[in-house]
């Protein structure tokens, strides 16, 4: 599955290719996902053992400030995360044995820039409804798997 969020927590895109279990409805699922990532970022920034100056837990971090996580793994899935400097968060949920997907996330971000941002009819903050983007994304992800 894939999620794209903007800096306000609006889910711009949700794609699913293979999901056998849905515990919550779509809205709650997106909110929970965004909340989880926000808190995890806050946790990693605070828990960072190499930084000397740490902010307080719960203070919203500016994009790029503080240590951020890029991936976590459970026994049933692996979640890879990337945040762009503008606050666009791209999340990929894959099989647990998938390797490091940071390059793929960068590639997907580039696709986003090409097909979505450069589209004159797209306004930032609105859900993405670009057929071309979806198609290219599907092709790329099928190629990955």
């Amino acid at each position: 599955m894939m999620y794209v969020f903007n800096r306000n927590g609006v889910c711009l895109l949700y794609r699913e290719w293979n999901r056998s279990l849905r515990t919550l409805n779509a809205q709650q699922d997106h909110k929970l996902m965004f909340g989880l990532l926000f808190s995890l970022k806050s946790l990693t920034a605070k828990m960072d053992p190499t930084s000397v100056e740490k902010g307080n837990l719960g203070v919203p971090q500016l994009t790029g400030q503080g240590c951020s996580f890029h991936s976590f793994r459970t026994n049933t899935y692996r979640l890879s995360f990337m945040e762009s400097p503008s606050g666009i968060k791209i999340i990929l949920v894959t099989h647990p044995r998938t390797g490091d997907l940071r390059e793929s996330l960068k590639y997907i971000y580039n696709l986003y820039v090409e097909y979505v941002v450069k589209n004159p009819l797209y306004s930032p903050g609105m859900p993405i409804r670009s057929e071309l983007f979806n198609m290219t994304l599907d092709q790329y992800v099928r190629g990955l798997g």
Binding site: M1, N18, R19, S20, L21, T23, L24, D29, L32, M33, G35, L36, S39, L40, S42, L43, T44, K46, M47, D48, P49, T50, S51, V52, E53, K54, L57, C67, S68, F69, H70, S71, F72, R73, T74, N75, T76, Y77, L79, V93
Partner: protein, 141 residues
């Protein structure tokens, strides 16, 4: 040299019962470590909810830019997690070993109350030995 930065043990309700720091830069006071532990407990639970398939048992490994966090959850819900350098090997084995030390020196201690902070000398001693041995073994490789 692969280094362990710190170790935390959380009881099944999410309260921190043990915390040991092996060398992270920057001071972290007790309140902060308590908050972090509870936060981790909740994140662990939420990650189970978001699983696309059945049978998820929570986050086992979190990879960040400057550190990795390995977590082991026992069958009773007690969580052991260790913050280490990125790419450190054999943390799963170490966590299982720490779990064995926990059962031997903490749970079998008749004066230890369940879910309370751990204050067992023997546990501390053996834990330091295990972590040192790990370091030496990794250095030797």
């Amino acid at each position: 040299m692969a280094a362990i930065y710190s170790l935390y043990i959380i009881n099944k309700s999410g309260g921190l019962i043990f915390h040991k720091d092996y060398g992270s830069a920057g001071r972290m006071d007790t309140n902060d470590s308590l908050r972090l532990a509870s936060l981790w407990h909740s994140m662990h639970a939420i990650s189970q909810q978001l699983s696309p398939t059945l049978g998820c048992s929570g986050i086992e490994l979190l990879e960040a830019d400057t550190f990795d966090l390995h977590c082991f959850q026992s069958l009773t819900g007690t969580k052991f997690f260790v913050v280490c350098e990125p790419g450190t090997q054999h943390m799963e084995g170490l966590l299982k070993f720490i779990y064995e030390l926990y059962t031997d020196y903490v749970l079998k201690n008749p004066f230890y109350e369940m879910e309370m902070p751990i204050r067992c000398e023997l546990f501390d001693i053996n834990l330091s030995q295990a972590v040192q041995k790990d370091r030496v073994a990794l250095l030797g490789r």
